[in-house]
C-alpha cells in the first residue's frame, strides 16, 4: 500500500473515523486528483461522517448543503439581498443612468452567500458536503455539474466566479433516485457497505463513551445478525452507536441478554413492524447462536 494511502487512513483515524482500505484509497485519490467523491451506501453506514472527519483532520471548514426536494439556487448557492438593493435604488433617487444602477445593485456586494457560493469564495480550502443529493431534483443536479467539473459558479447578472481554493467535494446518496450519468461521471465513486465485525467493534470502541471488550463484541454481533434478518429498515452504524449508548444509559452491567436488548431495541430498529417481529425469543436465538456461525 502506498504511503499516501496509509496517511489518509491514519489522518481519518485521528479524526475518529475508521477508514478501511477502499475508503482510504478513494479519499486519497480525491485529494490528489482534486475530484469530487460520490459516496453511496445504505442509510447509516457512515457516508456523511467521511466529510466531517476530513474537515476535522485537515482542519478545513465544513460547508454543508443538505438537499431536499425543491431545493433551489436561492437556498443552495446565492440570493440577492433585495432589501439592500431596494434601499440603494431609493438612495440614488430619480434620474441618472439606469443601466449603471442595474449593474451596481447586481454586484458582489449585494450577494447573499449560501453554501455553494461560500465554498467557492472561501479563502481557505473547505470541505463541501452535498448531502443526500438524491433528494434534490434533476434540475439542481444539472446545475451542480458546472461546480463539480470546473469548480466555478455562474451567476447570470454577475458572470462566473471561479473557486479561490478548490474545495474537497463529497456527495452522498441513499439511492432513493437514480442519479444522472453526467453527475456520476464527474465523480470518483465509493460504495460503502455495512462494516464487518472487527471494523464495527473498532468504531464502537473509538467512541469516547463507547463500551469495550465483551460488551462491544456482544452488541456488534447482535446488530450484525439483525442486519441479516428480514427487516424493513436495517440498522446502520449510527444505530449501533445509539444502541450501545442506550444500553449504557440504562446502567446495565454484565453480559447482554435478550431482555436487556429488547428494552433498548428502539434505538436500533426504527420501524414499528420490525419491533414487533423481533421478539425477546428471537433476540435470544440471535444472541445464543454460536459465535463462529457465519454472520452472512
Amino acid at each position: 500500500m502506498r504511503a499516501d494511502i496509509q496517511r489518509v487512513r491514519d489522518g481519518l483515524g485521528t479524526a475518529g473515523y475508521v477508514a478501511d482500505r477502499p475508503i482510504a484509497t478513494t479519499v486519497h485519490l480525491a485529494l490528489a486528483l482534486e475530484k469530487p467523491v460520490l459516496i453511496e451506501g445504505a442509510a447509516g453506514v457512515g457516508k456523511t461522517e467521511i466529510a466531517k472527519a476530513l474537515s476535522r483532520w485537515l482542519d478545513a471548514e465544513l460547508v454543508r448543503l443538505q438537499c431536499y426536494e425543491g431545493l433551489d439556487l436561492a437556498t443552495a448557492a446565492y440570493e440577492w439581498n433585495y432589501q439592500r438593493q431596494l434601499l440603494h435604488i431609493r438612495a440614488r433617487g430619480e434620474g441618472g443612468d439606469r443601466s449603471a444602477l442595474e449593474e451596481e445593485i447586481f454586484g458582489e456586494a449585494f450577494l447573499l452567500e449560501r453554501p455553494l457560493l461560500r465554498a467557492v469564495r472561501a479563502e481557505e480550502r473547505v470541505v463541501l458536503l452535498i448531502d443526500e443529493i438524491d433528494r434534490a431534483d434533476e434540475e439542481f443536479e444539472a446545475f451542480l455539474l458546472e461546480l463539480l467539473s470546473d469548480f466555478q459558479l455562474s451567476i447570470p447578472e454577475l458572470g462566473t466566479i471561479p473557486a479561490r481554493q478548490r474545495p474537497i467535494v463529497v456527495l452522498t446518496s441513499n439511492g432513493t433516485r437514480e442519479l444522472s450519468d453526467a453527475l456520476r461521471r464527474r465523480c470518483l465513486y465509493l460504495w460503502i457497505d455495512y462494516p464487518d465485525l472487527d471494523k464495527e467493534i473498532e468504531i464502537l470502541e473509538r467512541r469516547a463513551s463507547g463500551p469495550g471488550g465483551e460488551r462491544a463484541m456482544d452488541t456488534v454481533r447482535l446488530v450484525q445478525r439483525l442486519r441479516n434478518e428480514r427487516l424493513s429498515k436495517r440498522p446502520g452504524v449510527a444505530e449501533t452507536i445509539d444502541f450501545a449508548a442506550a444500553l449504557d444509559a440504562l446502567g446495565i452491567e454484565g453480559p447482554l441478554t435478550a431482555e436487556i436488548a429488547r428494552d433498548a431495541l428502539g434505538a436500533l430498529l426504527k420501524d414499528p413492524q420490525d419491533l414487533v417481529t423481533m421478539t425477546t425469543e428471537r433476540l435470544h436465538e440471535l444472541l445464543a447462536s454460536s459465535p463462529d456461525a457465519p454472520t452472512d
Binding site: E34, R98, C187, W191
Partner: protein, 381 residues
C-alpha cells in the same frame, strides 16, 4: 495538494486503455474523461500493489454499485495477463471504440435485440380518423380477455383515439390557474431598477406541476397477459413514458422499462412469452423482489403504484402481505386493477387477493376500453 507524483512504468497508458476497453466490452461505460482520470490516478497509486491499483482504479472507472462487480472480474483477468509483458504485444481485439459513451455502453446489455414491430402504429391510426367515437360502442365494453388476435389492430386503433381524447382533457386542466403564485422578488426588483425603484409590476412565479411518478406492476401470467398488454399500451400512449417504471411478473419479476426503450411493446412481451414466463404466478415473491431491489429508488411520496393482477397466487401469502404493506407505506397511492371485477358475481376471495386488499387504495377492473377511461383520473396525485 503537494504530493510527489512519481509515475511508474508498470501501469502504462496502454495498459490502462486496455483495462478501459475490457470494461467497455462488459458494458461499464468508460468515456474519455475516465481514461484520463485513470492515467492521473495511476501515478498516485503503487503500481506494484494489486490492491492499490484495484481499489483506486475502481473508484475512477465505476459509477454505480452494479459496475463494481464487473470491474472486479475484469480487473483480475487484466492484472493476471502478465503486466511484465511489453504493452505492444498485449494489443487485443477489443480496441477502444471512440464513441461509446457511458450511458450508451451501459444500455447495451439491456437492449435485447428484438426485431421492431413491422406493423407501425401510424397506419392503423390513419384508418380510424374519420370514425366517430361512441362510448356506447360495443368495442369499448368488450373485455380485453375476449379479444382475438385478428382484432388486436382494431382495438389498438380505438385505444389510440381514446388516448388522444384523454390527453387533451388533461392539458386543459393544466392551463387553468389564473395569476396567482408567490412574488418573484428577483425579477420584480429588476424591473423596479428600470423605473427608478418604483414597484410597478409584481413578477410572480408558480409552482410547476410535475406529473406523478408511476410504477406499474403487470401480471403477465397466462390469462392476464392480454389485459396487461392493453394496460401497458394505454399507459405508454398517454405520454407519460418518461415517468413510468414498468415491471412484468409471473413467477419472476422483470423490469420492462429498459426493454421498452429499445423495442416495441409486443415484441418485448413475445420475448417474455418465449422464455416461458407466462405460466403460474408468484405475486408475493415478485412484489418482494420489487420492494427489495427497486423500492428505495422508485417508491416515494410522488409515486403511484399500479398493480394489474387477478390475485390468483400460487405462492405464499406472507411475502405478499409483507411487500404490500411496504409498498403502501412507501407510495402515495396504490391502485389494483383486477379484470375479474367485471363479473358482478366476483368477490375477492382468493387468499392472495384478500391479503393484499387492506393495502390497496383503489380497486378497479380495467378490463375494457371503457374501464380504462377512468384511469387517468385515478392517476392524479
Amino acid at each position: 495538494m503537494t504530493e510527489s507524483t512519481r509515475s511508474e512504468p508498470a501501469l502504462s497508458v496502454e495498459r490502462l486503455a486496455e483495462l478501459g476497453a475490457r470494461l467497455r466490452a462488459e458494458g461499464v461505460g468508460c468515456a474519455l474523461t475516465e481514461s484520463t482520470a485513470a492515467v492521473a490516478a495511476a501515478t498516485r497509486l503503487d503500481p506494484s500493489d494489486p490492491d492499490d491499483a484495484r481499489l483506486g482504479l475502481r473508484s475512477v472507472f465505476c459509477a454505480t454499485r452494479a459496475e463494481l462487480e464487473i470491474f472486479e472480474r475484469c480487473f483480475r483477468s487484466w492484472w493476471d495477463d502478465d503486466p511484465e509483458r511489453p504493452p505492444q504485444s498485449t494489443v487485443r481485439a477489443e480496441v477502444p471504440a471512440p464513441h461509446a459513451t457511458g450511458e450508451r455502453a451501459r444500455r447495451a446489455d439491456r437492449a435485447t435485440p428484438v426485431e421492431p414491430d413491422s406493423v407501425g402504429s401510424e397506419a392503423p391510426r390513419q384508418d380510424v380518423i374519420g370514425a366517430a367515437y361512441s362510448p356506447l360502442d360495443r368495442l369499448a365494453r368488450r373485455s380485453f380477455g375476449s379479444i382475438a388476435e385478428e382484432e388486436l389492430r382494431e382495438f389498438d386503433a380505438w385505444l389510440d383515439r381514446l388516448i388522444v381524447r384523454l390527453s387533451a382533457r388533461r392539458s386543459r386542466r393544466l392551463r387553468r390557474g389564473g395569476r396567482r403564485g408567490v412574488v418573484d422578488v428577483r425579477r420584480t426588483l429588476r424591473s423596479a431598477a428600470r423605473h427608478d425603484g418604483e414597484l410597478i409590476r409584481l413578477a410572480r412565479r408558480r409552482r410547476r406541476l410535475d406529473p406523478p411518478r408511476l410504477v406499474v406492476l403487470c401480471d403477465v401470467s397466462g390469462s392476464m397477459e392480454r389485459y396487461s398488454r392493453f394496460l401497458l399500451r394505454f399507459l405508454l400512449g398517454c405520454g407519460r413514458a418518461a415517468h413510468i417504471q414498468t415491471f412484468a411478473f409471473s413467477t419472476r419479476l422483470t423490469h420492462l422499462t429498459p426493454w421498452l426503450a429499445a423495442t416495441e411493446l409486443d415484441p418485448a412481451l413475445a420475448e417474455l412469452r418465449a422464455r416461458g414466463w407466462s405460466s403460474g404466478t408468484r405475486i408475493g415473491e415478485c412484489l418482494e423482489t420489487f420492494v427489495e431491489r427497486h423500492g428505495r429508488r422508485m417508491l416515494g411520496q410522488r409515486t403511484l403504484v399500479l398493480i394489474l393482477s387477478d390475485g390468483l397466487d400460487q405462492g405464499e401469502v406472507e411475502p405478499l402481505e409483507r411487500s404490500m404493506r411496504r409498498i403502501q407505506r412507501g407510495a402515495r397511492k396504490v391502485i389494483w386493477l383486477n379484470p375479474l371485477l367485471e363479473s358482478s358475481r366476483y368477490a375477492p376471495e382468493a387468499r392472495g387477493m384478500r391479503a393484499a386488499l387492506p393495502y390497496v387504495d383503489h380497486f378497479h377492473s380495467g378490463h375494457s376500453l371503457d374501464a380504462l377511461r377512468d384511469l387517468p383520473g385515478l392517476l392524479r396525485l
